[in-house]
Amino acid sequence: MHPALSVILFSTASGAGYGLLIFVVLGRLLWLPSDSTALVWGFVLSLVLIVGGLLSSTFHLGRPERSWRAFSQWRTSWLSREGVMAIVTFAPMAGLVWHWFARPNDELLLLVAGVFAMVGALVTVFTTSMIYASLKPIPAWSNPWTSAVYLLFALMTGGLLYYILVSWLTQNQNLILVELTIGLILSGALVKLLYWRHVSSDVSSTTPESATGLGQLGKVSQLQAPHSQENYLLKEMGFKIARKHGQRLKWICFFTAFVAPVSVMLLALFVQGLAMKLLLLSALASMAIGVFIERWLFFAEAKHVVTHYYHEARYQ
């Protein structure tokens, strides 16, 4: 599948935003070490990421001015559900704002809005993942690991952001948070590894033979493409990266998304001040690169079954 920048940004940024939102709410509810400044900044940042992500997704649209229509088909469409959930989740988020500004002492409001915001965030990320996981013609997506990856990556990126924010503002690196964040990163790594393992071992039941229905006659190979130059289908769905490049990128992804952030976080425990901040920022930068590569590969390595109609070596 063609890795469109707008879609990569959408799913990673909004995922991180929702993840961060969850931590902000948890921070407030469970009294994770934080101060209100961190919460406010965290909330604002999550809002920016969520809105930015959603906006970015509209760049992918041919007619963004019609995007409001996307809320209408929630009964069948995961994309519609995602839109609806994103909007729905803004309600408890507004509740949180109301709580902070107007009714700081209304703990019930905080509890209700907070729980709903967290649930909304998780469900929204889940619906995002289901946009992909519901697409049967793309076996690399159409499996439960897709949702697991989306959810854990949201939490992992959100967690790291939260940790950095708290450490930055409090000048203090809390061990519980370190453990929690590293735990999420390691879980993210584990899930991604399991995803890759699943994808590499998953043999699609669709073949050129089933695609053409000619399997009874033998092995099917392309003689002539319908059009000699690439068409929309091939540009969109025939995207292919060489196996060895994919493998190299996976190593880079694994290092930048997981290994480097964890190592740097551990290293940062031994320093203070500017050094700590720089180290934590570099952990974030590294993870951003890693997550970007991960999502890019998520698209680039996913094969659409339509490619079975095309030249084997070039597209399948």
Binding site: L223, H227, S228, Q229
Partner: protein
């Protein structure tokens, strides 16, 4: 009518073409339409259309022109041509690539008085046409068709996707849907029609004649031939003189009246064929001191030769021995065990009544795959021989003539000879020599025509030799010309062998005078092709939707096996540019030149209304251009005086005229009294005499006898060739290029197939068609690829004895392992057709033409002969031999890359939104109901969908 021959309905919306669909009532296509016809809108609106007459201002090839007015353009042309006509009319060479309206263009050349006229048949398929017309008085092409609904065995030779394509596709669909007939395709490449064949014979190119010969041998040995048919309808019983050295050696034994004689078994005497009761087909007889034998005996002797043994043939053709034997047995089975009997009484030429029509349901078809070899004439004749031996020509289930065929063998017109200076030729320029006396040669044996057609070198060049004109004219061999006038022929690109040489010839200058060796080139085309920049004066033509046209019975009509027919094309849109239909221009030039038949006595134009005026009012013999609605009231057919309202009547009838034959006239046309009478009344044949099919061609033997007569001057090379190749009995010989090149150094055949969605080079300016194929690959067998170590999309160098190209490979399985091939005419020269300079056609598309030479490699003696069939002069495109080497992928551009041509025309759009403003209202209503449609529904026999 569509750009070729199919009937269409063109829907317009606000003056713009909205939709083109096949006319369901039209006899040619019955409502279907091919990819080209369906993309006609884009052809019509092509940005490569020329917009105004042009006069060259830069050097030839520079593409520097100035726009001029029509009056000036026509004045200039008339000035050049008028000078020629006064001094020496043959210094005009008038060649039309497009071969529709030859009835007009040929007549124009005749009236001008130049013999140097032809269409493109010489480099297309004259072998096939001539072989048919010299054997059976008809031919494959669009002059005949299998009896699709009755045939049981259909054998198709070579690439045939180019002519008569919708009728063949419709026929194949019907034949296969009947599921009772077998379709065998003999073609080195399995694509297109061959892909749906029940059996594909992946033969080595150029060996079809051998394969056919082997089938003939097997059938003879098994006596699986139709003796009765041969006696009744062919010259098989004619006695041939066998008296080496005698004046009549190899000619038929004839009586005083010139009637051929046979040996009557009943009376044991030599008798005229009409008087004999049991003409014998074999035996040695003596007559007036000479040995005479029936034709069939000579045929049998030829084909019993061990060189046609299946085991020997298998090795050369690559077709396994068992397959040859099996196909022979299947032919015999279909012909003799599955007779088709139609309960239609008919009467033969003798007046003998027959209760039924009994047919041998074996049919055949061939086109360029057979034609484009230097042995194509004889190979095609061998196929006709096979058909005749099986008794399957114009019988139920067999091959059928389309009206106005059959004609006499050969047809009655002879090549036009010059009379007095400035006067018309005695006949049209092209024709069919009956013997050496009809050649166009001077007393010293030198050719009269610039292309050397109908000379001792190419005696039966019935379609002329357009491919030799530019070369000969530039070299002054046999003589220089003054003006080359061409219409719709991309001679500077895909229609010429060896493009580089052709371009050199077009731009060659006389060193002494600095003048071009071809002083004037006038060219008419609707589009900016690769040839336009090489002309001095451009007369821009319209598109096919903007003009009148005619498919006349005088030309290549739309006749059917069951009906006569002709058709017109009416203009449906007005040109939005300053262009004129070529036929109008030709008639106006004729008037300006005062050509007889084109002006009134007072010198004014006889057809001021242009081509449509001419179509109605021009008389030719007892009829005219069109056979329908003749006579003042439009109540006559075939012949009759002109009808001023004729075109309106055609338009009312869907632009065609269609006269069904009576059932009794539909088969055995060469011997069918009722049909022959109709045909002679219509003027298609001179009399109602039967037409005897020619297994043995006495005409060829006459040329041979002339060659043996050293009192007749002719070039020595030509004499040797005539002796060898004017064999009255078809035979197989190895194509010349293969004979003359080192087969180890050049081990592979290379040829092209026609993509069904492209019309030669014209398709690439059409954005819908070019999206289907904008670049081509060199296809090769997987075994060959692994031997060469190449994979899909690798680059290779392909070299012939003449040139080298660099191309990309694709691998397949359905191809002869000794053959590589590609799609024809996809490669374009950068800058032409108003495509961008970096269009895939220019950068990744390629032609094989660069590899093909007009002349063959030198013989041991050093002499070089044309790369052509020795009988007809047909260009031998498919004889090409090559070698292939893998090369570095250091560039993704095909080679050679010629310099870009100057671009011409408006900047094409970057996005085409055609149709945006043509959308209808009321989209997708539910009423009235849709129609159910099942393809070939009437063909399914059991179980039949209701």
């Amino acid at each position: 009518m569509c750009a070729c021959r199919c009937g269409i309905r063109v829907y317009l919306k606000d003056g713009t073409v909205r939709f083109i669909e096949g006319n369901p009532d039209h006899p040619v296509n019955k409502g279907v339409l091919c990819a080209k016809g369906s993309a006609g809108i884009m052809q019509h609106y092509s940005p490569a259309r020329l917009t105004k007459p042009l006069r060259r201002v830069g050097e030839r090839g520079s593409g520097e022109f100035e726009e001029i007015e029509w009056d000036e353009a026509l004045g200039l042309a008339a000035q050049w041509l008028g000078r020629i006509r006064e001094s020496d009319p043959k210094r005009l060479a008038f060649f039309t690539g497009r071969d529709q309206s030859q009835a007009l263009t040929g007549w124009w050349a005749q009236q001008f008085g130049t013999q140097n006229y032809a269409a493109h048949g010489g480099f297309c398929s004259v072998n096939m046409a001539a072989a048919g017309l010299y054997s059976i008085g008809g031919s494959f092409w669009e002059f005949g068709e299998p009896d699709w609904d009755n045939t049981r065995y259909f054998l198709m030779f070579g690439v045939a996707e180019d002519h008569d394509s919708n009728p063949i596709k419709m026929g194949l669909g019907r034949l296969k849907s009947r599921a009772k007939a077998k379709f065998v395709s003999v073609n080195p490449v399995r694509t297109g029609y061959s892909s749906i064949a029940d059996e594909w014979v992946g033969i080595r190119p150029g060996t079809d004649g051998l394969f056919v010969g082997s089938l003939i041998q097997q059938l003879i040995k098994a006596e699986a031939i139709d003796f009765d048919y041969l006696i009744r309808y062919t010259n098989a019983p004619y006695l041939v003189v066998q008296d080496s050295g005698a004046e009549n050696q190899g000619l038929f034994l004839r009586d005083q009246q010139g009637k051929p004689l046979c040996f009557d078994g009943a009376s044991q005497a030599v008798r005229s064929i009409d008087d004999a009761t049991s003409p014998l087909l074999v035996g040695n007889y003596q007559h007036k001191g000479q040995t005479v034998v029936p034709v069939l005996q000579l045929i049998v002797a030829r084909y019993l030769d061990p060189s046609y043994e299946p085991s020997v043939v298998a090795e050369k053709t690559g077709v396994p021995e068992a397959q040859i034997r099996r196909i022979a047995s299947e032919l015999a089975q279909a012909a003799f065990e599955q007779e088709v009997i139609l309960d239609i009484p008919w009467t033969d030429w003798k007046g003998q009544k027959h209760e039924r029509m009994i047919g041998r349901p074996v049919s055949m078809h061939a086109m360029r795959g057979i034609s484009a070899h230097s042995n194509g004439f004889h190979t095609c004749r061998a196929i006709h021989l096979l058909q005749m031996l099986l008794g399957s020509i114009d019988v139920p289930g067999g091959f059928r003539y389309k009206a106005p065929y059959p004609k006499t063998i050969p047809p009655g017109n002879r090549p036009g000879k010059t009379t007095e200076k400035g006067a018309p030729l005695h006949q049209g320029p092209l024709g069919f020599p009956l013997g050496p006396e009809d050649l166009l040669v001077n007393d010293d044996g030198s050719p009269q025509r610039v292309d050397k057609a109908f000379s001792w070198e190419y005696p039966l060049a019935a379609h002329g030799m357009m491919h030799m004109v530019i070369n000969n004219a530039a070299k002054g061999d046999p003589y220089p010309i003054d003006t080359l006038f061409m219409y719709m022929a991309n001679m500077a690109w895909n229609s010429s062998m060896s493009i580089k040489d052709t371009l050199n010839n077009l731009t060659a200058k006389d060193e002494a005078t600095g003048e071009y060796k071809i002083p004037h080139i006038i060219y008419s085309d609707a589009f900016y092709s690769e040839t336009v920049p090489y002309a001095d004066l451009i007369l821009p033509d319209t598109t096919y939707l903007e003009r009148w046209d005619c498919i006349s019975i005088l030309d290549r009509p739309i006749g059917e096996a069951d009906a006569a027919g002709d058709a017109i094309r009416q203009p449906v849109v007005k040109p939005d540019r300053d262009v004129r239909p070529f036929q109008d221009v030709l008639l106006e030039l004729g008037a300006r030149l005062n050509l007889p038949g084109m002006v009134n006595d007072d010198g004014t134009a006889l057809y001021p209304g242009g081509y449509s005026d001419y179509l109605c009012n021009h008389k030719r013999g007892p009829g005219g251009s069109l056979s329908g609605w003749r006579g003042e009231n439009g109540d006559k057919e075939f012949v009759g005086e002109a009808n001023p309202n004729q075109l309106e009547r055609y338009i009312e009838n869907g632009c065609f005229w269609h006269r069904e034959f009576k059932h009794e006239q539909r088969y055995f046309k060469f011997a069918n009294q009722s049909y022959l009478e109709l045909a002679s009344e219509a003027g298609w044949i001179p009399s109602a005499d039967p037409i005897r099919l020619e297994l043995y061609s006495e005409t060829l033997q006459k040329f041979r006898l002339a060659a043996m007569n050293y009192e007749i001057s002719m070039p020595e090379d030509a004499r040797q060739r005539i002796k060898e190749f004017f064999d009255p009995i078809p035979f197989w010989y190895m194509p010349f290029e293969e004979q003359l090149t080192d087969n180890e150094a050049l081990p592979l055949h290379a040829l092209t197939q026609r993509p069904m969605h492209m019309y030669h080079s014209w398709g690439s300016q059409n954005p819908w068609l070019r999206q289907i194929t904008a670049q081509n690959y060199l296809y090769m067998h997987d075994q060959l690829a692994s031997k060469l170590g190449v994979a899909d999309f690798d680059w290779v160098k392909v070299a012939s004895s003449h040139g080298e190209i660099r191309v990309q490979v694709k691998i397949m399985n359905g191809v002869n392992p000794h053959t590589v091939w590609t799609w024809n005419a996809i490669g374009k020269r950068a800058g032409a057709w108003n495509l961008s300079q970096d269009a895939p056609e220019a950068k990744k598309g390629f032609l094989l033409n660069h590899l093909i030479s007009e002349l063959l490699p030198p013989k041991k003696s050093g002499a070089r002969q044309a790369n052509a069939d020795p009988v007809t002069g047909q260009a031998s495109w498919f004889d090409l031999r090559v070698k292939i080497e893998k090369c570095e992928a250091d560039s993704d551009v095909c080679g050679p890359q010629l310099d870009s041509l100057a671009t011409r025309g408006a900047q094409p759009v970057s996005v085409s939104l055609f149709g945006e403003d043509l959308q209808g209202k009321g989209q997708g209503s539910r009423e009235p109901s849709h129609q159910e449609f099942v393809g070939n529904q009437d063909c399914y026999e059991s179980p039949k969908p209701k």
